[in-house]
């Protein structure tokens, strides 16, 4: 991998900022139209509005991907690990993806074990991983209408999460290159959208968390992507964590943890 200079990250940061302004507005106007027109238009038009919304969300996710890939390439990806309930984080991420799935007629089935320990994660980054994996599952679903998302304790005490689709699958010959940058399955390119950064980014983020991202797939039957996360107790023993527990972080940013909202 080449190391880039400050110019590269500034260019990306500036571009991301420029892209985010019209995106902010588009998302805002879409919300206004949904609020005002929801009950009053044809189902077909309502469906188009949902799709518009889903596309705007996707655009935002891609812009974030570009920014984070630039950070990774420049060793500037900063993770701030905090103790989180994996059940809470995973559930809200899946709910946020509901629209993407709904506009394609796909249901997301979420099953989370109830004995999961808390994990040490950077919530924003891990949300990107979940987004990317579910986004891929949606894209590669073909005519399948179900995606299964599951979390359980693995044999070695880690928290393992899997995202399984029952669609196109990936041929064995393509698997080795799956996590490289810009890689896209050229057989399915016509059917499938995307920017080739999602898996590269997800792998980098999971690895930075001390976990592992893997894939199991069969062409024509679907794929399962899985990743492991380290329980918070284990992490505190293993590594020195950023001591900042004062922020409540979410997909939107952070809110200072005033006493009413201490977790």
């Amino acid at each position: 991998m080449y190391s880039q200079d400050d110019q590269a990250i500034s260019f990306v940061a500036l571009s991301v900022h420029e892209l985010r302004t019209p995106l902010t507005l588009l998302r805002g106007y879409i919300e206004v139209f949904e609020e005002e027109l929801s009950g009053k238009v044809d189902p077909e038009l309502k469906d188009f509005m949902d799709k518009m919304n889903a596309q705007a969300e996707q655009l935002m996710a891609y812009v974030n991907n570009i920014l984070n890939v630039a950070r990774i390439d420049n060793d500037q990806l900063e993770l701030r690990l905090q103790e989180e309930s994996w059940s809470t984080v995973l559930k809200s991420a899946v709910v946020a993806l509901g629209l993407q799935a709904k506009v394609r007629g796909i249901s997301l089935h979420c099953q989370i074990a109830n004995d999961l320990p808390s994990v040490g994660i950077d919530r924003l980054s891990i949300n990107e991983v979940i987004n990317n994996l579910v986004d891929n599952a949606i894209k590669y679903s073909g005519s399948s209408k179900i995606i299964k998302i599951e979390a359980h304790r693995s044999g070695d005490g880690l928290v393992e999460t899997t995202v399984q689709d029952f669609g196109l699958g990936i041929s064995t010959s393509l698997l080795p290159n799956l996590f490289t940058k810009f890689y896209r399955d050229h057989h399915n390119r016509a059917q499938v959208g995307g920017n080739g950064l999602g898996l590269y980014l997800s792998k980098a983020i999971v690895s930075a968390h001390g976990g592992n991202l893997w894939v199991r797939s069969k062409e024509g039957e679907g794929s399962t992507f899985g990743f492991t996360l380290i329980p918070y107790d284990q992490l505190t023993k293993q590594a020195k964590l950023d001591g900042n527990t004062e922020m409540v972080r979410s997909a939107h940013g952070w809110i200072k943890n005033h006493s009413l909202y201490r977790r």
Partner: protein, 133 residues
């Protein structure tokens, strides 16, 4: 000067933002939710307003004309200021910050929201959360 707010009064927001279309969307959503909104696009004027008038919430964009959001934040949160500004100060931005700047913001602001990551209603909900505490 800094009296306890009368619970029956409408909550006030000072929106310091120079992108007119964005402040228009936010004003619409906040007004619908019952807030009284003042928008000021110029940094110097905004700082003056923040120091002169009482607001419950200050939404502060980082990139505005004549004075940066950081400078405004520093001035409003200057520990030497007595009495302290009672408003909750929430940074709203589409910029990504470097570590040094982020650390300073985290010490002084009550929230940091990425504009593109939220719709106007989501902004209102987040503001409700912050203003309750």
């Amino acid at each position: 000067m800094d009296e306890e707010p009368n619970k029956a009064t409408v909550r006030s927001v000072l929106c310091i933002e120079d992108e007119q279309f964005i402040s228009e969307l936010y004003t619409r959503a906040l007004t619908k939710a019952g807030y009284q909104v003042t928008v000021i696009a110029d940094g110097v004027k905004a700082l003056e307003a923040a120091q002169t008038n009482q607001y419950d919430i200050i939404l502060l964009d980082l990139m505005i004309p004549n004075l940066t959001g950081i400078e405004i934040l520093r001035t409003l949160r200057n520990p030497a200021r007595v009495p302290p500004i009672r408003a909750k100060i929430i940074i709203i931005t589409n910029l990504e910050q470097r570590q040094e700047v982020r650390a300073e913001i985290e010490k002084q602001a009550d929230g940091y929201l990425v504009k593109a990551a939220m719709t106007p209603s989501e902004l209102v909900s987040l503001i409700e959360k912050i203003s309750l505490s």
